[in-house]
Symmetry: C2
Subunit: 138 residues, 2 copies
DNA sequence: CCGTATCCTCATCGATACTG
DNA sequence: CAGTATCGATGAGGATACGG
C-alpha cells in the first residue's frame, strides 16, 4: 500500500510528538483518570498507584502547559485544587483508546513471540537453515 | 460519558504497554520506514536521521522479539540482512496513524497553549481572580 | 492539602572502537 | 555490511524533607 513513510515526513514527526507528550510514564494514567470527572490533587495521587508527589506535579504541569488539563484553585482551608480535562484533552482519548484496543487485541501474540524469541536465544540460536534465522512460532 | 477509567483497568494497562513498546525514541521511525518495503540494516541507518548503529540494533532486536519485525540473513558476501514488518507489525500502523492524525490536527492548539502558559509563567502568575488560576487563551 | 527543593540512583542513549 | 563491546554523559524519576 503506502510506499514507505519517510521519517522526516509529517506523519512520522507528528507521531513522535504525541509520543513525547503522552509516552512518558504517567501522562496516560492521569488523562484516563480525568476522562470521567475532574479530580483533586491527592485524589489523583491516591488513585494512581506508585506515582510520587513530585511526578504527579510535574506531569500535571506539563499537561496543563500543553492545554490538555486545567488547574483550578479553590480558596478553601485547606486549599483544594481541581484538575480537569480541557476540550482538547478530551479529544486525545479517542486515539489513546485506539492504541489500547490494539494492545488488548494483540497482547497474546506479542507474549508468544517473546517466549519464542527468548527460547531460541537460550539455545544459542544455532540451527539456521539456508542463511535464514527467523523466529518461527505457531 | 465514561465514568473515569481506573488506572488498573485493562484499558489503561494496555495503553501503557503499547507506549512502552513504541514510545521509545526510535521504534516508530523504524516501523514507519518498514511500512512500505523491507529494508537492509544500513539502508535503515541511512534513512533514519541521527540514529546510532547501537540503537538501531537494539531497537530492531526488541521489535523482532515482540514479533513486529522479522530479520532475514542472506549469505551474500558481504552478508546482507533484511528487516520486514510481520503481519502483526503491519496492524500496528493503523493505531499509530490515528495518533499521528490527532497530532497534526492539534499541533497548533498545543503550541498556542504553550506560548500562553509560558507567557504567564514569566509574569510570575500574579493576577488570579477569585482563586482561579487558569490559563486563558483565544 | 498542595505543592517545591534536594539529593541520589538507575536506565537510556551516543560515541568510539573493534570483529565476522 | 552488520553487528558487538565498552565507556561516559545526561536526564528521568523516587525518597525525603520542608513551606504556604
Amino acid at each position: 500500500m503506502s510506499p514507505t513513510l519517510d521519517p522526516a515526513s509529517e506523519g512520522c514527526v507528528a507521531a513522535r510528538q504525541v509520543l513525547d507528550r503522552v509516552g512518558d510514564k504517567w501522562s496516560i494514567y492521569i488523562v484516563m483518570m480525568l476522562s470521567g470527572e475532574p479530580m483533586r490533587f491527592n485524589q489523583l495521587k491516591r488513585s494512581i498507584d506508585g506515582i510520587s508527589q513530585r511526578m504527579l506535579t510535574l506531569t500535571l504541569r506539563s499537561l496543563e502547559r500543553d492545554g490538555l488539563v486545567t488547574r483550578t484553585v479553590f480558596p478553601t482551608v485547606p486549599q483544594s485544587v481541581e484538575y480537569r480535562l480541557t476540550a482538547l484533552g478530551l479529544t486525545l482519548l479517542a486515539p489513546v483508546k485506539t492504541l489500547a484496543e490494539w494492545a488488548q487485541a494483540n497482547a497474546e501474540d506479542i507474549q508468544n513471540a517473546r517466549f519464542a524469541f527468548d527460547a531460541i536465544s537460550i539455545n544459542s540460536e544455532g540451527n539456521a537453515t539456508a542463511g535464514v534465522t527467523r523466529v518461527r512460532f505457531g
